[in-house]
């Protein structure tokens, strides 16, 4: 090598070539460049979420009421616990990752293998939890009706407890059947019909004098405004046009459509990062087992995927704050 080096008189100077001004290998630096640009992408999404939230400041859903499920505790109001658990799982898998990197520095193949394995398991558990969270969000709990202006009206009883549509609606023999593409023109179909029609809900509401309507508007105390019985009946009969159960990209039973859109998009984009992180971790895991890095006497690849994995954790810390806490 020495023989081919051209002397320029700048040897030993910072930019003289042949050295690393930032003392970081090419691969690691490129991983950092990627992470910074990806961080800006995520901040773009989160800032857009903030924009929409400020825009609908007084009608944004209250997170504790939306995300209040916990496995095996059906019907129990458990705000925050589940997402806190998910956060722990991700932080812990970050810890096992950094332990793997640490073991890699000491060239301990067995330890690296073990910790990488734990990291992958943690990532998979997190993805499963995410899927369960989405399932609850998409299915919804109580259901609501929407007005012509796109607002959501929810139902509560005299004690202020939420009431599900199934407890309100008086079922009628319905003649409305879901249109499927096989029954008509092949390119025309519609989304599955809600379990109850708006007429059934209206009928049930006027029967039960205990029921009230809760609007999506938040008052100064941070609580949703509840209408009186007369106002409720007037509002329901004059404005309600349809029934919504759960959430999709067009409507959701929690509040403004943008709330569900951002939830799906940001947690989905993050979940996709976790997924690709798990895939990359698995590839590196097999390389460790095969002894690739043992032969190189250098476990820097583990460090590089580690950087990506910690970044995914870092993003989750912010998603957790802005979707569930603030």
């Amino acid at each position: 090598m020495e023989a081919t080096v051209v002397r320029t008189g700048t040897e030993g100077k910072t930019w003289g070539g042949g050295n690393e001004p930032l003392k970081s290998s090419y691969g690691k630096m490129m991983m950092w460049f990627f992470i910074v640009s990806d961080a800006l992408t995520f901040s773009g999404f989160l800032a857009a979420y903030g924009f929409s939230r400020f825009k609908f400041m007084d009608s944004w859903p209250i997170a504790d009421e939306v995300f209040n499920h916990f496995p095996f505790l059906h019907g129990v109001d458990a705000p925050m616990y589940y997402v806190a658990l998910m956060t722990f799982i991700l932080i812990f898998s970050s810890v096992t990752m950094v332990l793997a990197v640490d073991a890699g520095h000491q060239l301990k193949k067995g330890k690296v293998t073990f910790y990488m394995f734990l990291t992958i398991i943690g990532g998979i558990i997190f993805l499963g939890s995410q899927a369960w969270e989405w399932k609850n969000f998409i299915n919804g709990t109580y259901g609501a009706v929407y007005t012509e202006g796109g607002n959501i009206l929810q139902f509560i009883d005299g004690d202020g407890h939420r009431v599900a549509l199934s407890d309100i609606a008086i079922a009628e023999a319905s003649s409305r059947v879901e249109h499927e593409s096989r029954n008509g023109i092949w390119y025309e179909s519609e989304k599955s019909l809600p379990s109850y029609s708006i007429g059934e809900v209206k009928a049930g509401f006027s029967e039960n004098s205990d029921l009230l309507i809760r609007t999506q508007v938040v008052n100064d105390e941070g609580e949703k405004i509840i209408l009186s019985r007369e106002e409720s009946i007037a509002k329901l009969n004059s404005e309600a046009v349809g029934v919504v159960e759960g959430a999709n990209l067009t409507r959701n039973e929690y509040g403004p459509p943008l709330f569900a859109d951002f939830f799906f998009f940001i947690t989905g984009f993050h979940g996709f990062h976790v997924f690709s992180g798990v895939v990359i971790n698995i590839i590196i895991f097999f390389n460790v087992i095969l002894g690739t890095y043992e032969r190189r006497k250098n476990y820097e690849m583990v460090e590089k995927v580690g950087l990506y994995w910690h970044f995914v954790d870092l993003v989750w810390v912010f998603v957790f704050t802005f979707f569930y806490l603030v």
Binding site: L22, F54, V95, N151, H310
Partner: protein, 120 residues
């Protein structure tokens, strides 16, 4: 490559577990505050945001600092690389947040004061 392997890395295991403890405690504090929502924190407003939200955001940045510095090993990088990463992100993100939140607040006022009809 010779200088790479010449480094004798000592184990940082103890420090890793300490950082894990810090991150866990901070998360628990956040969750407890999020469930209890103490009234004096939600009712006190500082710079047009409730004190509770300020606490959440500051704790989040505190957690982010530990993840970046300890887990992503930024503290061990050269000053130049560290600054290139941290200040680029902080400057651009603060700018983006400032612009978008200001604009969001403005649109909220426009809707609220009825300059634009949107709820038909």
């Amino acid at each position: 490559m010779a200088h790479d392997t010449a480094h004798q890395h000592e184990s940082n295991t103890k420090k890793i577990w300490t950082v894990f403890a810090i991150l866990s405690v901070v998360t628990i504090v956040e969750v407890v505050l999020g469930i209890l929502k103490p009234e004096f924190l939600t009712d006190t407003s500082f710079l047009s945001m409730s004190l509770l939200n300020w606490i959440f955001i500051i704790l989040t940045i505190y957690k982010a600092y530990y993840i970046a510095w300890s887990f992503m090993h930024l503290e061990g990088e050269t000053k130049g690389l560290r600054r290139a990463i941290v200040w680029t992100a902080i400057f651009l993100i603060s700018y983006l947040i400032f612009i978008l939140l200001t604009e969001g607040g403005y649109i909220y006022e426009v809707y609220k004061n009825g300059y634009v009809a949107w709820d038909f």
